[in-house]
């Protein structure tokens, strides 16, 4: 472990905490996957000899049944209790749980989603899921947005989650709520952005604008003066920069 960089060391221990593999194995798999933890984990599990205790479908199903709604095959009513059990207690992480379960609907995990996702995550009990979520939390809370592909994926997922049925865009109000949760610690001028939207836009937000806003945040956090108005940004963001320059010097 001596010859590893600090970043690699973190990934290594992450890998080991997920897979319970030995350090040598961890390094080997990570190296093969060029230090992409997720890929390495996938590779690790695609080789059955790596995990002795087989995935226990029955246990997962039992877990599901514990929290499922009385009428339907989904977790919704008891979702708060479920997330509490896996030690998730802020809104950002609640969304992250939904992200990890690839849910289609806000606040609802269907049985299918639950079963498939647990298997994909290689979790058949609460404690392993809790560990997973712990590592997810670390990934998402990284301040460095530029290299944080997990966060980007998560961010884009959140938009789809916010969509009402059969809608392409997400209502402004919903967007503002979601942005508040997702970007609270990531973008300093979030409130100015909301003020601008409420004053001048008032319409729903398109996926394109949502996605590019994250790119914009990366630049704006650095310096808004680096903003290139010729950079094919959505008009809304162009207008915001104008607004910002006029109002917040």
């Amino acid at each position: 472990m001596n010859r590893l960089s600090s970043d690699q060391k973190i990934k290594c221990s992450e890998f080991m905490s997920i897979t319970q593999a030995t350090e040598a194995k961890a390094i080997q798999y990570l190296k093969d996957a060029s230090w992409r933890t997720e890929a390495a984990v996938d590779n690790y599990y695609s080789n059955p000899s790596n995990y002795a205790n087989k995935f226990d479908k029955k246990a997962v199903e039992a877990l599901f049944n514990k929290y499922k709604d009385s009428g339907e095959e989904q977790i919704s009513e008891k979702l708060p209790e479920f997330v509490k059990e896996i030690n998730v207690n802020d809104e950002l992480m609640e969304l992250a749980v939904l992200w990890k379960f690839k849910t289609k609907q806000m606040g609802v995990i269907t049985k299918n989603e639950f079963m498939e996702s647990m298997e994909r995550l290689r979790c058949d009990n609460v404690s392993s899921l809790e560990k997973q979520m712990e590592s997810v939390k670390q990934q998402l809370s990284s301040k460095d947005l530029n290299n944080n592909t997990s966060f980007k994926e998560f961010y884009m997922f959140v938009f789809d989650l916010g969509k009402a049925e059969n809608q392409k865009n997400v209502s402004l109000q919903m967007c503002i709520e979601l942005w508040t949760i997702v970007l609270k610690s990531k973008f300093d001028n979030l409130q100015i952005w909301f003020d601008f939207l409420n004053k001048h836009h008032k319409l729903a937000i398109s996926k394109d604008t949502w996605n590019l806003f994250l790119d914009f945040v990366k630049i704006a956090n650095d310096s808004i003066t680096k903003y290139d108005s010729e950079g094919a940004w959505p008009v809304l963001i162009d207008e915001f920069v104008e607004y910002y320059k006029e109002n917040c010097k």
Partner: protein
């Protein structure tokens, strides 16, 4: 030629025999040569034997005494020239140049002779040792001893310069002498012109520069701009003559440059900005000659034309802006546009006659026009109105060629309009009115205009306009068919109906609610509808009652008249057959005419000029017990619906008896109503029994109102909506062909594609791109958000 070989043999003998041994030979021979040369220098060479001297020179070289010979020659000439210099410098001022010239001529002659004598040395010794040839040696020595002699050099220069100065001041000088001296200086440079340049040209240029600097200063303070330019022209001409008379031709560009710099470059701005006579006032007063002069002069110096061009285009912009922003002028579309045309004429004339149609100027003036024409958003509408005016009456009695010229001029300005699509909208509206109301004076002129627009903007632009003409033609056929059909039925219709069937989409659509037509007319309309649909199955016929006209007979107490009215007016008037007095509301309810249109038409009917209806302002004073003879408008109205492929239709009225129509038009074309007398909804209307008119046929014009702000906005919105579609279509077209494209390239391609119709705002283009992304026609590249991919 035979002598030479003989001589050679002889000399060979000499060489091999005693001569070699003679140690005194070089000295002796030189002495001989020296004496001869002295004589040459004294112009006393006639009794010298060239052959003997040549032989001596030859022998000297042959016996390796070349260096002695060469150096002695040099010393000798040197000494001689020192004496010459002394004589020259001692001469009096008036004779100085002559003396110098004379000594120069003598020197040249002497040196030529000496060169001939020492020809053999030149060919052998000199060449082998890389020395200057005898003649050149003479030139160098002359240069150093005479021309550069301290007592001569400056004096020579000053004399020359003062001669030139004298000539500039108008005195006559000995040009030949100067030419000779100048030639001497050139020759003294041997193979270059260094001596000429250093000793004369440079100081001359400096002097010239100073001279014109001073002169131009005085001139510019005392003369007006045109006078100054005339004087400059003269100066420049004189300087050029000077070169051709006594200077070296290589000096011409340099001298020119110096003069132009002092006379023109340094004063360009002052000249242009000179009050009351500068460029602006020349433009104001059409001083073609002066402008031409300025162009010619300024074209000589760098940036001159640019400066001129900028000032002109700035001025044109200002003037044009004055026109397009002038509230007074913009009120009357005719004068507004006429002033623009006049301005254009003026500058075309200027370009042609003063500016040699210089491309730069054409371009910059064009740009200036483009700039201000587009400043006023109403320009497209005004152009269309202007054409409308011309095609309605302005071109009466004008030959076809002249019409063509006028239309071409209009098109020149049209070309500069950026919002051609707005123009198209208005043109369509105006054309529709002309066609349906039969107001166009010449079908040929109409078609000519369309053809011109077609060449200008392409087929797409005019296809709908052409469709309108086709509809008109087809309608005629339909009508004659309809008439035969009626005749065959052996029935007569109560009224004479004329229908124009208009294709939806070609004509400006007006979604107006239909008014309630009188029974008689409805009957005719149904008959037509039946006939039309039996021929064209599956079409939908809608009546456009707002666009029709009618002729009705009205029996007034004095006499009966034939009234030419719009369909709406007809419907209103027919109500008075049954009742003599109607409130505004009653009319509105019974006719179903939209309020704004109703007001307009009532205004026309109550116009003091043709007061067919009278209005009582308040309902409270019911004074008239209606003993008035009820008018019996025996209607011969011809409202006319129209339609074809799908829905649109409009009534209109080309009536057969047009014998007196010209009389009528003169009577009533100017029925612009006096404002202030607007119709109020509480008004009550009665049939005006006191109506009188000299004419039998009375034309009641619908009040032509300028577009109301609401309509204006509607037109604008329609245009914007159309543009959205066009921009999207263009984006998709481009992306379909390119598959992937970078943002800025896409935007510029779109603008390029559309600029023949309008210039899209990049922000709007961007919004359209976003919208297309949203609808998944495009996507952003995963790697770079600036790159778009086309999604098939």
């Amino acid at each position: 030629m035979m002598a030479k070989p003989n001589g050679k043999i002889q000399f060979k003998n000499l060489q091999s025999h005693g001569v070699l041994a003679d140690p005194d030979f070089p000295k002796r021979t030189w002495k001989l040569l020296k004496t001869a040369m002295r004589q040459i220098h004294q112009q006393n060479a006639s009794n010298l034997s060239f052959e003997e001297l040549y032989r001596n020179g030859y022998n000297m070289v042959l016996q390796k005494h070349g260096d002695l010979l060469y150096n002695n020659l040099k010393k000798m000439v040197d000494k001689h020239l020192k004496a010459v210099a002394k004589t020259v410098s001692e001469s009096i001022d008036e004779k100085f140049l002559q003396e110098l010239n004379l000594s120069w001529i003598n020197h040249k002659t002497s040196m030529l002779m000496i060169r001939d004598i020492l020809m053999y040395m030149d060919r052998n010794y000199v060449k082998q040792n890389n020395l200057s040839s005898v003649f050149d040696l003479g030139l160098y020595l002359f240069r150093d001893n005479v021309a550069h002699c301290p007592t001569i050099k400056d004096r020579l220069l000053n004399t020359l310069l003062s001669m030139v100065q004298k000539e500039r001041e108008g005195e006559v000088i000995d040009r030949i002498l100067i030419k000779n001296i100048v030639q001497m200086l050139i020759d003294l440079g041997v193979n270059s012109k260094n001596v000429y340049i250093e000793d004369f040209e440079k100081p001359l240029l400096l002097k010239t520069s100073l001279h014109y600097q001073a002169q131009s200063q005085t001139l510019i303070q005392t003369c007006s701009c045109p006078d100054y330019m005339k004087k400059v022209e003269v100066c420049l001409k004189e300087e050029l003559e000077r070169v051709s008379h006594y200077l070296d031709s290589s000096s011409e560009p340099k001298l020119k440059e110096v003069c132009e710099k002092q006379l023109i470059s340094n004063h360009m701005r002052t000249l242009i900005e000179m009050e009351n006579s500068g460029l602006i006032s020349m433009l104001k007063d059409d001083k073609i000659e002066d402008l031409k002069r300025m162009y010619n002069l300024f074209s000589r110096v760098s940036d001159g034309l640019n400066l001129m061009k900028d000032v002109i285009s700035g001025y044109v912009k200002e003037i044009g802006k004055g026109i397009v922003m002038d509230e007074e002028k913009t009120k009357e579309s005719g004068t507004y546009f006429q002033s623009l045309l006049d301005l254009k004429d003026k500058y075309d004339n200027l370009l042609q006659n003063a500016l040699y149609n210089d491309k730069q100027f054409i371009h910059s003036i064009q740009q200036a026009f483009e700039y201000f024409i587009n400043l006023n958003p109403k320009s497209p509408e005004y152009i269309s109105l202007f054409i409308d005016e011309k095609l309605k009456k302005g071109l009466k009695g004008v030959s076809e060629e002249e019409v063509d010229i006028i239309l071409d001029k209009i098109l020149m300005l049209f070309r500069l309009i950026q919002e051609k699509d707005v123009f198209e909208k208005y043109y369509k509206q105006h054309l529709a009115k002309r066609l349906l109301l039969g107001r166009s004076i010449s079908d040929d002129a109409e078609r000519n205009m369309i053809a011109k627009l077609k060449t200008e903007c392409g087929y797409q632009f005019t296809s709908k306009l052409e469709g309108m003409f086709t509809d008109m033609r087809l309608s005629q056929d339909t009508m004659s068919g309809f008439k035969t059909y009626i005749q065959n039925l052996k029935k007569t219709l109560p009224i004479d109906l004329n229908v124009h069937v208009l294709t939806t989409g070609f004509w400006p659509t007006q979604n107006t609610a239909n008014c309630n037509l009188p029974r008689e007319i409805l009957f005719c309309c149904e008959a037509f509808k039946f006939y039309y649909l039996s021929n064209h199955n599956g079409r939908l016929l809608l009546w456009q009652t707002n666009m029709g006209t009618a002729e009705i007979k009205a029996n007034f107490p004095s006499k009966s008249h034939e009234l030419q009215v719009s369909s709406y007016q007809m419907v209103i008037l027919l109500l008075f057959n049954d009742q003599s007095k109607l409130t505004f509301k009653e009319i509105a309810d019974q006719t179903g005419i939209p309020t704004t249109d109703l007001k307009r038409n009532l205004l026309a009917l109550t116009n003091p000029k043709n007061k067919i209806l009278d209005r009582e302002l308040s309902t409270t004073t019911t004074t008239t017990p209606t003993p008035t003879p009820i008018p019996t408008p025996a209607p011969t109205p011809t409202p006319t619906p129209s339609s074809s492929s799908s829905s649109l239709s409009s009534p209109s009225s080309p009536t057969p008896g047009s014998s007196s129509s010209s009389l009528n038009t003169s009577n009533s074309t100017t029925t612009t109503l006096t404002p202030g007398k607007s119709i109020d909804e509480s008004d009550v209307f009665v049939f005006n029994t006191k109506f009188k008119s000299k004419l039998f046929r009375v034309k009641v014009m619908a009040v032509v109102q300028k577009e109301t702000p609401v309509e204006e906005k509607e037109t604008r919105d329609k245009v914007d909506e159309d543009r959205k579609h066009q921009i999207e279509a263009s984006i998709v077209r481009i992306m379909k062909a390119r598959k992937t494209l970078e943002h800025s390239n896409l935007v510029s391609e779109v603008i390029k594609q559309l600029q023949s119709r309008f210039v899209p705002n990049p922000v709007i283009v961007k919004k359209r791109i976003e919208s297309l992304i949203e609808r998944e026609y495009l996507e952003r590249s995963k790697q770079d958000r600036k790159i778009y991919n086309y999604m098939a």
